[in-house]
Point group: C2
Chain length 422, copies 2
Amino acid sequence: MKKTASKSAFYAQSGGVSAVINASACGVIETALRSKRIDKVYAGRDGIIGALTEDLIDCGRESAATIRGLRHTPAGAFGSARFKLKGLDQNRAEYERLIEVFRAHNIGYFFYNGGNDSMDTAHKVSQIGESLGYPMTCVGVPKTVDNDLPHTDCCPGFGSVAKYVAVSTREASMDVASMARTSTKVFVMEVMGRHAGWIAAAAGLAGRGADETPHVILFPEVPFERQRFLERVRQCVTDFGYCVIVVSEGAAYADGKFLADAGTRDAFGHTQLGGVGPVVANMVREAHGYKYHWAVADYLQRSARHIASKVDAEQAYAVGRAAVELAVKGVNAVMPTIVRKSSKPYRWVIGHIPLAEVANKEKKLPADYIREDGFGITAACRRYLEPLIAGEAYPPYRNGLPDYVRIKGVAVRRKLKTDFKI
Amino acid sequence: MKKTASKSAFYAQSGGVSAVINASACGVIETALRSKRIDKVYAGRDGIIGALTEDLIDCGRESAATIRGLRHTPAGAFGSARFKLKGLDQNRAEYERLIEVFRAHNIGYFFYNGGNDSMDTAHKVSQIGESLGYPMTCVGVPKTVDNDLPHTDCCPGFGSVAKYVAVSTREASMDVASMARTSTKVFVMEVMGRHAGWIAAAAGLAGRGADETPHVILFPEVPFERQRFLERVRQCVTDFGYCVIVVSEGAAYADGKFLADAGTRDAFGHTQLGGVGPVVANMVREAHGYKYHWAVADYLQRSARHIASKVDAEQAYAVGRAAVELAVKGVNAVMPTIVRKSSKPYRWVIGHIPLAEVANKEKKLPADYIREDGFGITAACRRYLEPLIAGEAYPPYRNGLPDYVRIKGVAVRRKLKTDFKI
């Protein structure tokens, strides 16, 4: 029997989703449902918006099979939101509303599954609860495909997008290699990562050296030099018969201008919001006239649960479980982290760090992870990345398609009379 | 002991490669190496170019493990070529050269692995050999991701691209659905298929009806009507909160003009060779202002051996094996076909058809496979497609990446004194 003095828990997904954010949800929910210290387990419909609008999903009404199935289901099963709470000074009402809803539903645990911004929000909620006389235990659950959270070896979500990008680069490269003599000579693949080149770096795992694909990686960290790039492409086509280029959406010139901002106009004179992939491909065509193809993986890369990394899926579950374990022990305002104990073999444990130290900070690709010519990754980078894409964690299939689960999403009866406009 | 009277075999890959064309190569080579009727087994380096330039690969010098590994290796392990032999009247020299090389190496069996064009070439080679007094047994091995070969239930290569597209559509749709409330409302995915909508149709497997994703498929077979399309998109966003669009690269207006030919110009006034994906996305943005994302899978879709269809991989091997079995029985100028015996459960056998009946013909998507509103697939289409993506045929992995094989590619000693310029 649960004690009536126990508090309920609230879980929400935040920001761009990933192939394994639901595995973290599963870790949180399974652990919370089992915990004697936690009464009900709720999730926000569409993330924090569900809390603000008092639209709570009762996780206890989902079957155990559905909750378990979250572990192999991509995207945000409860809905996520790109919704950053403003600073306390600018919009105190939002924070007060959160506390009002949490108080109405006897919620004492707040688990926020997201990136830098979300860790900041979780931190603020823990502060405001205190100051409003409703202390909350707030624990962040790390998630970002960009891998830019500090103080953790890696970030759940990244390993799977890294695996997708490495596998796709290897496969497409083999395609180009087999056709290059009479057809496509240059292939460009655009990947995510607006501020940091972690995802682009993962493409480097597809080949072992500068003579293997991808022949060129364009990182956001390395200022783009048109001539040097074009010369490298020409050299690759001469030496290897073809050239495979992986470009980060954040690739930019030395003055900070994105390559994707190519000044192209459509028939009506509107700015053409192109991807950087076609921009780079056109640049090569104009300079060298090579036949080219380009791909933009976009959401495919971050939702590709079918090729998720086993390590990533396990870490995603583990940080979710750890978040609850920390919370019920009374550890407040922290985020579980992944601590690497060794690379070969890869061994990791769960640690934790105060939210204040994570909030709004970004971890860039270290300089010594980028090859001296700026077009590839170093052995150190490979040592770091390789364990993160290890193992396959295939979902079950049905009629040839992954059998992903869908929640029922039964709403908890509202207790407040007031609405809240987002 | 092989009899000295026996002839050698020549195998070549042709046209765009696929996730399973090497499985056909494996079927041909394993069967030919085992056959008492066949002496040596050669493959053309870079397809038919290898025959014209007398650049033959000795398959007998590859390890059994490498040959076996072709079954799980994408792209063209021997090199493929976009090289169409001209008509006999225009370039008799090319055909005569082929026969010269075949005669020099005692090659009596020609296995040509490709699409419509290649079946035409195989047919011509069998005719010219006859007229030059060097009769050849020529058997086509069907391959095309476009699924547009007639007289066969489906075409090896298609099932895997179909599975990739269906899986990716399902995954990306879940991503968009979970973010739509505060972020991306419209997602556009561009897929291959310049002349026929088979690949686009496969995306329809991701959902079960007009209310499930993809909400809109734009087929080459259905003339594009801008207003009707934009209205459908608006309705989907209103009804479901978001809209997922899959567009075939061959989507066109009633006058035949491709959507991809959008008249866009880059900063220098050059025609912007854009994909149709961004064109459609921009069209939606201009009309409705919705936040959008787009993906162009390009080569990723046809090289994605990691998510190949098991049925497809098996059929690819089976047509390769059958080609050799037919040839050694003396059946000439044919192509093995897949004959569907039943859909539920899916049962198929191998048949064959004269090359003359396949050459240069295209199989379009039947009208009754397209939903009446033109934006989706019918139940009949689903019945046809579903078995083709059934089952997974995962490659082995090593360090987190598929362990694809690479051939040694030992060249056969040349016997002719003459070179041939391509």
